[in-house]
Amino acid sequence: MSALHIAIIVPFLFALIVPLLYNKIPKIHTGWFVLILPTILFAYLISFIPTLSAGEVVVRKLTWVPSLGINFDIRLDGLSLLFGLLITGIGALVVLYSIFYLTKKGEALHNFYFYLLMFMGAMLGVVLSGNLMVMYVFWELTSLSSSLLIGYWHHREKSRYGAQKSMLITVTGGFAMLAGFALLYVMTGTFTITEIIAQADVVAASNLFIPAMLLILLGAFTKSAQFPFHIWLPDAMEAPTPVSAYLHSATMVKMGIYLVARLSPVFSGAPEWFWIVSGVGLLTLLWGSFNAVRQTDLKSILAYSTISQLGMLMSMLGVGSAAAYYGYEAGYTAATVAAIFHLINHSTFKGSLFMVAGIVDHETGTRDIRKLGGLMTFMPITFTLSIIGAFSMAGIYPFNGFLSKEMFLATMLNATEIADFNMQTFGILFPVIAWVASVFTFIYCMVLVFKTFTGKYQPEKLEKKPHEAPIGMLIPPIILASLVVLFGLFPNILSHSIIEPAVQAIYPASLTGVEHFDIHISAWHGIDYAPLHMTIGIIVVGLLLYLTLPKWQKIYQYLRLHQKDPVNYAYDYLLEKLVVVAAKITNIQITGLLRDYFVYMYVFLLGLTFYTMYRFNAFAIDTINVAPIPLYVWFVVAVVTAAVIVVPFINNKVVAIISVGFVGFLVSLFYVLFRAPDLALTQLLVETVTTALFLLCFYHLPELRKEKSKPTFKWVNVIISVGVGALVTVMALSALSFGNKKPFESISQYYIDNAHDLGGGDNIVNVILVDFRGLDTMLEILVLGIAALGVVTLIKLRMSGKEDV
């Protein structure tokens, strides 16, 4: 176990301490303790930058389940470092912000920070693990912890709805992804990412290529809120604002982007990958930006804007995948560079914007832009921050968003020149959609700033008198906004240290032959630069549309978009149907009648066992090797049979129980006859105790009515029971003959030989129970204990009235 392993595990350990700190030191806000952790981890990860920018990759191995190829391996390359820095860096800022956002009074801080730390650890696990299975485990843990964070204010119905929605959608995608990983394993025989990448040609040639790709993309798209799975993100805004800033803009929702980038070397170059990733990305970009404009809640605007920005990142990765098809020419890898750069920029400006929205909410009591307005004079710093963030997102110079937006437009223009993938026909859609979506992006950015901070001040609609936020809430967005300006003015600060290793990780030298990418981002390409013209067009048209917004806003009502996202109807409908169908199936399956359960079980047993035996041709009955049966055994058999036949004809319950017990006692006689004293004893005692139990039960049960059912139904029962009996008999006989035909070595010989020497006992049955198969016994008594608790709860905690369960 290396320091990097510990870095992943520490947040989980720390999460366990948080509740103690919360209880023991109530005077200090628990967040201050939590803040230490991401800060240290951030500094620790920074220390890897020189190593990675020198072109090296840090690998730490830890075997876990080597027989299944599942190992807790860590691979720190440019891509994971970038994400690791985002997770810890933004994490530290968010924790600092949350200290001032969540008050000590009335907030379950220990829960909050427990979930947050769990989330942080899980995220680090996802980006650092070099094994797909380990990554999947952490991936699902992020779904779980984020859902807990969304539902943090669990007394609100909307929070619970949002938490459930995000959980259902992302976990469903996660399951699909798991299946995709399994298919990759089938193709390559390994879960280690680098080994899979090394066999990229094997994967590409396989029949399972498309299914694996689709399943994995499903996981990536649900997590990264791509259309039509984006609907969970707006509802996730019920979470506290620090959570929104952290999970839903900077880190978790970018997991899908991470996954697509990480597996690009395996799948890119295929037209399907190109079209699905860039197509879904563009669609999400357009849909998100179009819908953001109609929102009235600050966080809803930001949620849809995040959706659209994630679509934008996805589309860039899609276009970048063409590089694999064209031998990694710089013209195509530029799309990936743009994606990485925009990913960083998005985290900075969107993080600060979420924090600004939180400040507005915190200091005025509302996030509704219809109630807000004229806050500029009350909150000058917040206003400045929102201008920096929003203008960057809109793509205005000199902020970093301008640079990445121009790079984005450039790659979309480049995409039209791709000669394959049917791009001659559809290629023109790429820049057109990008441009239209950017116009809408510009509009909602303006809405975000100017509807909140300028215009008419309406104090009567606000819950509190607005004033500037406390300094602690301002520092994190100030830091992020300074980065926005810094990266905008000096875009190459990160080129060598962060972006180059990240691009190198997406285009590994083993495939591309490119040992080192040289990346230079420039702001000015001359007056004839086409993306610049597009940007000017965006600003002009966007400004016009923003100023005439009230006139054309009716279009949303006309398109019936004014209430909720249409995809939500599908989701709600499916959820409702799920409950109905589940109830129907439950009603068929769980009738409350023991008889029905036996019918199901026996029919299943008959079907499965008969098919298996038929399939493997196991009906091999011969009577050659059957031992002679002594007369007294025949006699006992006759008595048992007679006792069994008598049972159904007895009307008295007690007599019936005793005669069933009689059968059991006679069976123990068989064990005695065949010299198995342990089994005989066990059978005898189990029979005694169960008979007593039965007697007790029936003693307390009310007198039952006489059973009246149709004769035909009984015939079904007769057929099933005779069938089961015959099947078991045939099974026993053919097992004997089968064993004779194919003489496997008997396992009993091992125990006979070793029981005394290894187990120190002469009673082989007992030695097997307590020593050779001790784990079985231990879990069996555990099950027994749980069953006893079940019986007790069923009887003691029975509902008193006539409630329906």
Binding site: T682, A692, H700, G761, N766, L775, L784, V792
Partner: protein, 140 residues
Amino acid sequence: MKNNLSLHTITQIAVFIVLSFSFYLLFAGHSNPGGGFIGALMTASAIVLLYISFDLKTIKKVLPFYYPYFISTGLLIAMGTGVSSTLFGYPFLTQFFEYVNLPILGETELTTALVFDIGVFLVVIGVALLIITTIAEDED
């Protein structure tokens, strides 16, 4: 059955015999027929016999046990023997045995399997009696 004198008398004697035999089974189990599971069932059946011939309140006075404790204690003992072997670097649930000379018993085999078996014994007694008494006490 409350005033059945012969049943009472026989029960009082039989329970002792059955109980002693059940303990014998527990300890002899490693080398002869018996063991934790069988011994526990034997004990349970002895106590069930008490419950059947006397009424519940009397038995509760004589045997004031809370059976869930039996289950948890037994589970802890069984798992404890499993864990203790890991403390010495052996795989989980490795059992050890040793022959020692004890003052009265002579050469005796001491084995961790017996401790494990006692755990099983306690759980099974707890489960059997918990279920039986819960059903018997149920008034509804």
